[in-house]
């Protein structure tokens, strides 16, 4: 009987030995640290790699991903992260995003917060349900900051400031609660007026565009017409200069010609005079349409002509 029991005990011992071996081995992944407790009491922190501990629950290990960048989303959830991620929204996420602004308007704000576990001991042992509490802290921080900004600031110029103030406030709360989390980044995503009033916000943007367009059009007209008017003005001035020069040059020419003539004329005034007179008539008479030469002594012809048509030229 004894002979048949011994192998049974041996098998039992081997099983116990295997369980002990198995439960004393553990591995910490590269982005984690392991916190070991003996009978519930924290004894040591382990870095990534294979480790041994007391078996049978005497020592337990809890692994905390201290290297990992953790993220919480507010106002939406990433349903599937991919090249083109798909998002998911429902009543719960909407309740997260609706908030009051400082001018007592309503806006929906979506944002994310990225954080790391900076103190795994505190993270594990200082607060129950750290993650959920962190959500509430983030919501409270964001609403506090948004509540101190106008809806216009929230939608336009204030985004950066709001995000950084909310992060500051959240970091302050983390310190106050001593929860071992350090906030890395808080980033505003879509910020919108509520669905019902969105068209009127768009109308404001449209009005701004219209305003800019009206002003631009007026300036375009200005830029079109003023340079042209300046050019035209310059043209007129140049033309006037030309006219003045023309007048003066002609006057000078005429004067010189006259002077030259006069000089010669003085030498033989009478002859020159007659010559010019006769030359002129020789040129002029053929040009006249009708010529009538009468003798003053033979009176009586003149009345036969309707005087209105007669052009009498006397030298």
């Amino acid at each position: 009987m004894r002979g048949s029991r011994r192998p049974l005990i041996l098998v039992g011992l081997v099983i116990v030995g295997l369980v002990a071996l198995y439960s004393s081995y553990y591995q910490v992944e590269p982005d984690e640290v392991g916190l070991v407790t003996r009978f519930g009491r924290f004894v040591r922190t382990c870095n990534p790699g294979p480790h041994a501990k007391f078996p049978f629950g005497i020592e337990r290990v809890q692994k905390v991903p201290v290297q990992r960048q953790l993220k919480q989303e507010f106002g939406f959830r990433t349903a599937r992260a991919d090249i083109q991620s798909s998002f998911h929204k429902d009543e719960k996420t909407e309740a997260e995003s609706v908030m009051l602004t400082g001018d007592l308007n309503v806006a929906t704000v979506e944002w994310i917060v990225q954080y790391k576990i900076s103190d795994p001991y505190k993270y594990l042992f200082r607060m129950r349900d750290v993650e959920e509490t962190f959500r509430l802290m983030t919501e409270a921080s964001m609403r506090t900051v948004v509540g101190d900004h106008s809806v216009t600031e929230l939608l336009t110029v204030g985004r950066e400031a709001i995000a950084s103030k909310a992060k500051e406030l959240l970091s302050h709360l983390c310190k106050l609660y001593d929860n071992g989390i350090s906030v890395q980044q808080l980033i505003l995503q879509d910020v919108d007026p509520p669905e019902a009033v969105r068209p009127s916000f768009n109308a404001v943007n449209q009005a701004i565009q219209e305003r800019e367009r009206a002003i631009n059009e007026a300036w375009a007209e200005y830029n079109q017409e003023i340079p042209r008017a300046r050019g035209l003005a310059e043209q007129k001035i140049q033309a006037a200069e030309g006219y003045a020069i023309d007048r003066v040059n002609r006057a000078k020419g005429d004067a010189q010609r006259f002077n030259a003539l006069e000089e010669q004329y003085r030498k033989a005034p009478e002859v020159t005079r007659t010559r010019i007179y006769l030359e002129t008539l020789a040129a002029v008479l053929p040009a006249a349409g009708k010529k009538l030469i009468f003798d003053e002594k033979a009176k009586g012809i003149l009345p036969m002509f309707p005087l209105g048509q007669v052009q009498e030229v006397k030298p």
Partner: protein, 325 residues
């Protein structure tokens, strides 16, 4: 060994094991323990994590959490002092600071949660109701930055200065609650207003107000655009007039100068011999006035035809006769 003695041995072994497990207990990092002896608490809490001893069977280890614990409020509908109906959600984080007192007064966490509901919800209600809505929304009196939009048409009410602000209001709630909860062995780290929202019926009115506010802003932008563009057009008209009139002035001036100089040149020249000038000019006039349409009625007494009558009309026919004037 006989079969009987084996049974006795086994019984003792089991008894010993039970005694050992009953006299040992562990306290984890997140726990604290109150030892009770026949239901009566024995001394202060054990907060040191690790393996501990107690008297087996007689003593019992009551485990409490040592960490900051949750308390999440319900959405309370509260009217503010200025009669705005809003939903307020608060959260608080608390811990069992005095386990003995906690154990005596509340027994367990469930009891604590229901007591905290009463206290914190109540104080939140009181504080919110005795302040205007704006006090719970804003934190500081910072002036809003003006963006593209015209802020001065915002509701005057939302531009009001606050006395306390959200931060001080939550401090006030925390303070009041903190006055009460130590009686239960509880300590609060913080109370925060997690959410404030208008209730549905108020929200619709707020949306209406927002819409009309935006409409006014849009109208102002539009009229500002019209005004500015008219301003630019006016500037353009004015400059056009300036340019044109200036050009006119300059051209007249330049032409006048030219005319003046020419006149003076002519005058200087012709003054040397007025008689000749008059004669030449008259001759020129003949050129320009007599054309095909003109009739010339000429007397034989004119100089040019005087010889038609007689070769000797004026004395010596061999001599040219100079017309005299």
């Amino acid at each position: 060994m006989s079969g009987r003695s084996k049974v006795v041995l086994a019984a003792f072994a089991v008894l010993g094991l039970v005694t050992i497990t009953s006299s040992l207990y562990t306290v984890s990092e997140t726990e604290q323990v109150i030892i009770t002896q026949f239901g009566e608490p024995m001394g202060q809490a054990i907060t040191q994590a690790g393996l501990h001893l107690k008297i087996p069977f007689a003593q019992e280890a009551n485990v409490f959490d040592k960490r900051w614990l949750e308390w999440n409020g319900n959405a309370n509908q509260v009217p503010t002092r200025d009669k705005k109906y809003i939903g307020v959600e608060t959260y608080a984080r608390w811990r069992i600071a005095n386990p003995l007192l906690f154990f005596q007064r509340l027994r367990d966490e469930r009891g604590a949660q229901s007591r905290l509901d009463d206290i914190i919800d109540g104080e939140t209600r009181n504080v919110i109701a005795s302040h205007d809505l704006i006090e719970a929304v804003r934190t500081t009196n910072r002036a809003f930055e003006k963006g593209e939009e015209a802020e001065d048409i915002m509701e005057a009410e939302s531009m009001r200065q606050i006395e306390l602000g959200r931060d001080k209001i939550t401090r006030l709630i925390l303070e009041r609650v903190s006055n009460v909860v130590p009686d239960y062995g509880i300590e609060l780290v913080d109370v925060q207003i997690q959410r404030i929202n208008y209730i549905e019926s108020v929200q619709a009115k707020v949306f209406d107000r927002m819409i009309s506010e935006r409409k006014r802003i849009a109208d102002r932008h539009r009229s500002e655009g019209q005004g500015k563009s008219a301003e630019v057009r006016g500037k353009k008209e004015r400059e056009l007039k300036v340019i044109e009139s200036e050009a006119y002035r300059k051209t007249q001036e330049i032409m006048g100068r030219g005319d003046a100089e020419a006149t003076s040149i002519y005058a200087d020249a012709y003054n040397r011999n007025r008689e000749l000038y008059r004669f030449l000019k008259t001759m020129e006039t003949y050129h320009s006035t007599i054309d095909k349409e003109s009739w010339l009625v000429l007397s034989t007494s004119t100089d040019v035809f005087r010889y038609l009558q007689s070769q000797n009309a004026a004395g010596n026919p061999g001599k040219a006769v100079i017309p005299s004037r």
